[in-house]
């Protein structure tokens, strides 16, 4: 298997890269939605992210990658405490995946050959503590969407089937990508994503040339290319780890909370999820910048990412909600 395209080698697409890094710093932000044209590097970025993320510590043989033995579900029958380092899981949820495949179901092999009732974990188990990636999320079937919403909210996957009664933790960052021309996303699912990004092809010819050049080098001069960029990826990785530490000590002044609230009221976003996400995203961004306190500049930088998809949609406004958010941010924060 070829190594994925390095994250740091992706040309441009600052918004998308920033959003993904923020979720890497604080996974509780709740996922990224990437909407854009075909061939703008959406899938590439997600695959690259998998390689970029720092490894996690997990109990060996634990199907949900529990950090300590207490985190492993009882049905897995994990007895040894030994842990090992594994890459952060990034799991693909293919369109048309069956419910069984997503939630997990009876282990068919064991049931047939040994007559044992064993549980075979599904994609949700494999994505625990990591990322769940859905390409063309807007084409996902409704019943799978409902299921995902349920699990994403509770952080726990519950399976009740004939003879099986199983639960296990399923906390993951949802990353969805799609092309809005092919269908829109239900508002419930939209709201569930923490951040949203619109990507477009770069408009500068030079930038496009650079994209093609790097792609070509990646394909035809693989070893040298990876060597060159893996060093940069390592720097990014260290920065993420450092930011995670900084985040814990970061101060949030009351004025920042007021700013966030004022902004959301002004935008008329429904519910409080907008505020919470914006606050988390802004804090993660401040940590990324290695600042000690949350300021307006952090809020300003992350507001479009966190709020763009929460506006009451005007179907005929083709200027995009991003500009609307930016305008109001300027009004409120000055």
């Amino acid at each position: 298997m070829k190594q994925p395209f390095p994250f740091s080698a992706i040309v441009g697409q600052q918004d998308m890269k920033r959003a993904m890094l923020l979720t890497a710093i604080d996974p509780s932000i709740g996922g990224v939605l990437v909407f854009g044209d075909r061939g703008t590097g959406k899938s590439t970025a997600v695959r690259a992210l998998a390689a970029l993320l720092p490894p996690i510590k997990a109990v060996k043989a634990c199907p949900v990658y529990g950090e300590r033995i207490e985190d492993c579900p009882a049905w897995a029958g994990v007895t040894k405490k030994a842990t090992h380092q594994i890459p952060t899981p990034v799991v693909d949820l293919p369109l048309g995946a069956s419910e069984d495949r997503v939630t997990g179901a009876l282990d068919i092999e064991k049931a047939l050959t040994k007559g044992e009732k064993a549980f075979q974990p599904g994609l949700l188990a494999a994505a625990n503590r990591g990322y769940l990636y859905i390409d063309e999320v807007n084409l996902l079937e409704d019943h799978i969407v409902d299921l995902l919403l349920d699990v994403a909210q509770s952080g726990e996957n519950v399976i009740e089937r004939e003879g099986l009664s199983i639960r296990h933790p399923a906390r993951f960052v949802l990353v969805g990508s799609g092309n809005p021309e092919e269908g829109e996303l239900r508002p419930q699912l939209l709201d569930r994503f923490g951040l949203s990004v619109d990507v477009t092809s770069p408009t500068e010819v030079a930038e496009r040339v650079e994209v093609i050049k790097r792609r070509d080098a990646y394909e035809n001069d693989h070893a040298a290319f990876m060597l060159r960029w893996q060093a940069e990826d390592a720097t990014l990785r260290d920065r993420i780890l450092k930011a995670r530490k900084t985040l814990k000590k970061l101060k949030t002044p009351d004025s920042a909370l007021e700013d966030v609230a004022a902004l959301c009221i002004r935008l008329g976003s429904d519910g409080l999820r907008g505020e919470l996400t914006l606050l988390k995203a802004a804090r993660a961004y401040a940590a990324w910048r290695d600042d000690t306190a949350l300021t307006r500049s952090h809020i300003r930088a992350t507001a479009p990412l966190a709020l763009r998809h929460r506006l009451r949609r005007d179907p005929l406004d083709d200027a995009g909600s991003g500009t609307r958010v930016t305008r109001i941010v300027e009004d409120v924060l000055g």
Binding site: R38, K114, I212, P315, L316
Partner: protein
């Protein structure tokens, strides 16, 4: 290159570098040219069709074998193998699900070669765009007959070795050339220049050279970039029929390593899609017709079975899906038998039952037929536009589909095939120019065709005609007031016979008796709105639709 040469070269390059090029989208109805081209494919071919169950692609449990033995028997899916030649027939009907799987397989670079046979007739019938974007070559064999087939060398089955491909020297200018060209042709996806580069490399390797030359760039541009073009560059020369060959003196004058843009453009002009040229004058991009997967998805709302589910569907008398039920029951057999049931045959419990699901939502389609003729333009085209916009936002709230047809001059234009993309509809509407005669019959006819197409896809269409009623262009495009009125009446009767609901909105200064007559023939509702504003118009339609 002739279309035939183009097709064979594309096929050759696909087989030279399958991992890089992905494959070939072949737009053609069945015919001798297509048969001849497919006969050139070396080696075994796995045929896929759009109604293929997912298990065939990805493998699954073999029910009968598993039931007869005690071991679980799985069958391998087509995509689990490597280096397959996949032939997707009727690719234009490929559902998004299958398309997304094929895309994923292509992205992983398992060496599959996908040849998608796009048999679409209408312009809005085409491959799912995500899949089309990943196939390097788009070739059309439309209109090719027996005499166009030239003898060709057999195609080697073995791909060119990666080492050889990677060794190809690729000057930076060549790369810039391809990117620049893609921009000039209005190609947004960055996959296109990337694929073009791979194709150019494959071409170099095939010709046993080791350096990329302008010839390779030309081939790549013609095969990969030209079919994706969405616009013709502004500085188009005056004579579109200029010969494809580059004038020799032009090349002699410019001793450049790379080809000048104009020459490249000139050379690939012949490869540009024909309808692009036809449309280029009216400033409409091809993009707008990319309703693609969206339109098809809504098209499968009725009749197409969805994957079976275990929950009882809401409707009455659900149908059990036998295969899915068996598949669900298979794993439990050993367990259940161990519990002491000695009945022969599979033991099936209620929890195994899987039901067929069909989605029976019949979505409403609003077909707006807008009069953009001179008389209407003078009177109230702007108001009609405003009214349609208000209706559109209501349509959005109801998740209706909309289609937009405008008639002016000599005929009618389907500006937007049925879609849910409101933004596109609005954009089209805003661009709608006014002027010319009133070919009312032509507009109605196109509206009727669109509505009937929607019927077949399981939508319930409503025709909304906005006009001032003075039809003066007959169906054959001749200015003849009497004939025009007769034609309009005749087409209206046809529409009524098809059972299409309709609403006629009179936008003239005074109520037009002919229009009331037309509404009668349509068996539809009539609303006259002298001096009404856009909001009033929309209220009328809403009232008519509710009632």
């Amino acid at each position: 290159m002739t279309p035939w040469a183009r097709a064979t070269t594309a096929l050759r390059l696909t087989f030279a570098d399958p991992a890089g090029c992905g494959g070939l989208a072949l737009r053609s109805r069945p015919g001798p040219a297509r048969e001849a081209l497919l006969a050139l494919i070396p080696g075994d071919v796995s045929r896929l069709h759009p109604a293929l169950p997912l298990e065939a692609l990805e493998g699954g449990i073999d029910v009968s074998a598993s039931l007869s033995g005690t071991t679980l028997v799985r069958h391998r899916g087509l995509l689990q193998a490597r280096n397959r030649t996949l032939l997707l027939t009727m690719a234009e009907r490929c559902p998004p699900l299958i398309a997304s799987r094929l895309c994923a397989a292509l992205d992983q670079g398992q060496g599959h070669r996908l040849i998608a046979l796009d048999e679409g007739v209408e312009r809005d019938e085409h491959l799912p765009p995500a899949l089309q974007d990943r196939l390097a070559f788009h070739v059309s064999l439309e209109g090719l007959g027996q005499r166009d087939i030239a003898p060709t060398d057999p195609i080697a089955k073995r791909p060119v070795s990666t080492k050889f491909l990677q060794a190809v020297e690729c000057p930076e200018e060549a790369l810039e050339e391809l990117v620049q060209l893609a921009v000039t042709l209005g190609i947004n996806s960055l996959r296109a220049p990337s694929l073009a580069l791979r194709a150019a490399r494959a071409h170099v390797a095939l010709n046993r050279r080791n350096r990329l030359t302008s010839e390779d760039i030309l081939v790549a541009a013609e095969l990969v970039l030209a079919p994706r073009a969405t616009r013709i560059p502004q500085e188009t020369p005056e004579e579109p029929e200029a010969p494809a060959k580059t004038p020799p003196e032009a090349t002699a004058e410019r001793e450049l390593t790379a080809l000048p843009q104009e020459i490249l453009l000139e050379a690939i002009r012949t490869a540009l899609p024909a309808d692009l040229l036809a449309k280029s004058g009216s400033n409409k991009g091809k993009n707008g017709f990319g309703s693609g997967a969206g339109a098809k998805r809504t098209g499968s709302r009725r009749g197409r079975p969805l994957p079976a589910r275990d929950a009882t569907p809401r409707g009455k008398a659900p149908r059990v899906d036998l295969m899915a039920t068996l598949r669900a029951a298979v794993p439990w057999q050993t367990l259940r038998r161990a519990q002491g049931s000695n009945r022969p045959g599979p033991i099936i419990r209620p929890s195994d039952l899987r039901y067929r699901r069909y989605e029976e939502l019949s979505d409403r389609l609003l077909v707006f037929v807008v009069d953009a003729s001179g008389s209407a333009a003078l009177a109230r085209l702007a108001e009609a536009k405003g009214a349609v916009e208000i209706l559109l936002s209501e349509a959005y709230a109801r998740r209706d589909h909309v289609a937009l047809i405008a008639f002016r001059g000599k005929g009618a234009d389907l500006l937007l095939p049925p879609t849910r993309s409101l933004v596109q509809t609005k954009r089209r509407l805003a661009e709608l120019p006014g002027g010319g005669g009133t070919p009312l019959a032509a507009g109605l006819q196109m509206g009727c065709e669109t509505a009937c197409g929607a019927f077949r896809k399981g939508l319930s269409p409503v025709l909304i005609l906005l006009t001032d009623g003075r039809a003066n262009i007959a169906l054959d495009g001749k200015p003849d007031r009497k004939q025009a009125a007769e034609d309009a009446q005749r087409v209206a009767a046809e529409v009524a016979a098809q059972g299409v609901d309709s609403i006629v909105i009179d936008t003239g200064r005074r109520p037009e008796p002919a229009l009331r007559q037309l509404a009668l023939s349509l068996r539809g509702q009539y609303a006259s709105l002298p001096r009404a504003d856009a909001r009033g118009l929309s209220d009328t339609v809403s009232a008519a639709l509710e009632g």
